[in-house]
């Protein structure tokens, strides 16, 4: 597989959210606005790339039986680094993402890539894979966030598109997250079938 395919598979063919249904908790939990979705997506991308990088480097030193715990430690370390960095430099985003930042550690997507890809491939491919998967995840979150923000509060990335009073409030609330994602996946499935 060439590197371009390796990179681009994360966006469509093997998109974490739309196809693999991984990392659903942050997908639903932090997408009440586009900017939150994007922030969460990028934070996850960083963790994904770094953990893939480290796992690809150390994979030969790790005995098979302690593989998973070792990966978890690596992932948790980068999650904590992201957590501290965000708290220091983007405190507003840190506040609005809240509990979901430490929970990146249990995002099946991150451990899944470490186990299924980085532990079997070389350094370069692992980084590209992490980047593609992560940005695909970020794209999905931003899309869902934009849809919910636009329908719910009439804004896009905080800029008013139409008066807030006409918005369908339910899309900013919890039920709207499920419903919007349901329709989005149905739509993507349809597009895929035709493609």
């Amino acid at each position: 597989m060439n590197q371009w395919n390796n990179f681009s598979k994360g966006f469509f063919k093997e998109n974490a959210v739309f196809t693999l249904l991984l990392g659903m908790c942050p997908t639903l939990g932090v997408t009440s606005s586009a900017i939150d979705g994007l922030g969460m997506g990028l934070a996850t991308t960083f963790v994904l790339v770094m953990s893939n990088l480290v796992v690809a480097l150390i994979k030969n030193f790790i005995p098979d039986k302690v593989r998973i715990p070792s990966f978890i430690v690596v992932i948790a370390t980068f999650v904590t680094i992201v957590e501290m960095t965000m708290q220091a430099y983007v405190p507003a985003l840190f506040d609005s993402l809240g509990l979901f930042i430490p929970l990146i550690v249990v995002n099946c997507l991150v451990l899944g890539r470490a186990e299924a890809f980085a532990s079997k491939n070389n350094l370069g491919s692992s980084i590209v894979d992490g980047l593609g998967m992560g940005l695909g995840f970020a794209m999905a979150l931003t899309m869902l966030g934009s849809i919910r923000e636009l329908l719910g509060s009439g804004k896009l990335f905080g800029t008013a598109i139409y008066p807030e009073d006409y918005g369908m409030l339910v899309f900013v609330l919890a039920p709207g997250a499920f419903i919007a994602l349901g329709y989005l996946i149905a739509f993507i499935n349809q597009v895929k079938k035709e493609a």
Partner: protein, 191 residues
């Protein structure tokens, strides 16, 4: 009174799945049948309560005295991962029937964010203590079970329905979950 508030709030108002979005993976993954839903609920309750107790003591006895709260994420996830293994081994030896019922669900629990989420949230309660944390964990587990089993019941019926082709599978499940969340929103404001 305070405890009753915690219980009602955790089960209905701030339902862990439908309003806090934790534990979505098992909620969508093992909700095709009521019986598996019940098994998963049992396993989650078991691990959630034990994990909350253990992490509570780790936080109070190790992390806080040494001022290393920033190691919270890494220690908690390791504790939960080893706890799941431990529970699996003990259950296998002590109670084979229970292991048969819960066994297949246990490995899935390590990456169930509801466990880690509740363990962290329990420490954020006002003047938290061990009794409060345990009640908090149990009520969240019940809330998880309530949502999961209700959802599984609906999905069993859904199989018999004539659903538009494009909506089959995940999309319709998500929309049903949305409607369920809408119903649970009716509880808002009672606490």
């Amino acid at each position: 009174m305070e405890y009753i508030l915690i219980v009602i709030s955790a089960i209905f108002v701030n339902n862990i799945v439908l309003s806090q979005f934790l534990g979505i993976c098992p909620f969508l993954g093992v909700s095709k049948k009521i019986s598996t839903g019940i098994g998963m609920t049992g396993a989650v309750t078991f691990v959630m309560v034990i994990a909350t107790i253990v992490t509570f003591f780790i936080q109070k006895a190790i992390l806080e005295p040494f001022g290393v709260q920033y190691l919270q994420t890494i220690t908690f996830i390791l504790v939960i991962a080893s706890l799941v293994q431990l529970v699996e081994i003990i259950l296998k030896k002590v109670s084979p029937p229970l292991y048969q019922a819960l066994g297949v669900f246990l490995p899935l629990i390590t990456t169930n964010c509801a466990i880690l989420g509740v363990a962290i949230l329990a420490l954020k309660l006002e003047d938290t203590n061990i009794v409060k944390s345990v009640i908090f964990a149990i009520s969240h587990a019940i809330g998880f079970g309530l949502a999961l089993i209700t959802f599984a019941g609906i999905r069993e019926q859904l199989d018999l329905m004539d659903i538009p082709k494009g909506m089959k599978g995940t999309p319709i499940a998500l929309i049903v979950a949305g409607l369920l969340a809408l119903a649970f929103m009716g509880f808002a404001g009672i606490v």
